[in-house]
Amino acid sequence: MPISKSFLIIGIFFLVAVLLPIAALTLGRFLRASKPSEEKATTYESGVNPIGGSWVQFHVRYYLYALLFVIFDVEAIYLFPWAASYDVLRSEIGLGILLEMGLFLGFLILGLIYAWKKKVLEWK
């Protein structure tokens, strides 16, 4: 398939994904009855009256998880071009290509072991 045609398909999927929720929400606005009262307008909090605002201070642990996610996200990005060009590289530089990626992953696994040892991954 030519590349422009596959992009056209991606574009159509993207348009459908954007338009579907917009259409559903606008249609729902016209179809549903609207009788707001003060009780209905309060935030749903499992049947209990909500206390305070929605903005509460999180524990720093959550931030650490987000940071770990971004770092391993970036690592995963590098795996894609490696996997896509594996055959070409295999014939040109041989098994050194495995070593290259092994070294790369090794450094990050070192970091993961460090995080493990420092009990970052444990949840109390």
Binding site: I3, L67, F69, I71, S85
Partner: protein, 165 residues
């Protein structure tokens, strides 16, 4: 070509609009959301430039990871209803000078190099050629990138653990 121009105009308006909303939003959470919107629009522009790998990276890392990280960072701070800042303070003047200087340098580089020269038409996905170039010619910088990631990982753990105590 016409559709391409239309898509480019749409994406650039979205990108600039997101950035303007980012600057004008009162709540910090709205700022993070409009920044994510700008990231998405930039991914669209990359796609138009036939850099589809860069576009996917933009969505995965910036619109996905960095935005989540920013929202977590916002949730980490103490909720404070801060009013509008009074006037231009010293640090704002400083950042204005830095940003203007950066803009001038970038513009100078752009006008000195003929980046608008016609490029070779690419028919195959760029992921493969990126992989071959990266792992054959730039193997050492690639390994250095992993060390950089390792340093970021350990630094984050050390900083966060210090904060917990």
């Amino acid at each position: 070509m016409n559709a391409e121009f239309f898509a480019f105009s749409l994406f650039s308006v979205f990108a600039i609009g997101g950035a303007v909303f980012f600057l004008n939003a009162i709540r910090v959470m709205h700022m993070a959301l409009s920044l994510a919107f700008t990231f998405f629009s930039l991914a669209g522009i990359y796609l138009l430039l036939q850099a589809e790998f860069l576009a996917v990276v933009q969505v995965l890392v910036y619109a996905g990871g960095i935005s989540i990280l920013m929202i977590f960072g916002i949730m980490l701070t103490k909720p404070e209803e801060s009013g509008a800042s009074k006037s231009f303070q010293l640090h704002q003047w400083l950042s204005l000078i830095v940003v203007t200087g950066f803009f001038l340098v970038i513009m100078l580089i752009i006008y000195q190099n003929p980046i608008f020269a016609p490029t070779v038409k690419v028919y195959s996905p760029s992921v493969q050629s990126i992989g071959t170039t990266l792992f054959k010619d730039y193997a050492i910088p690639f390994e250095l990138a992993s060390i950089l990631l390792l340093v970021a990982l350990i630094g984050a753990i050390v900083l966060a653990r210090k904060e917990q105590k």
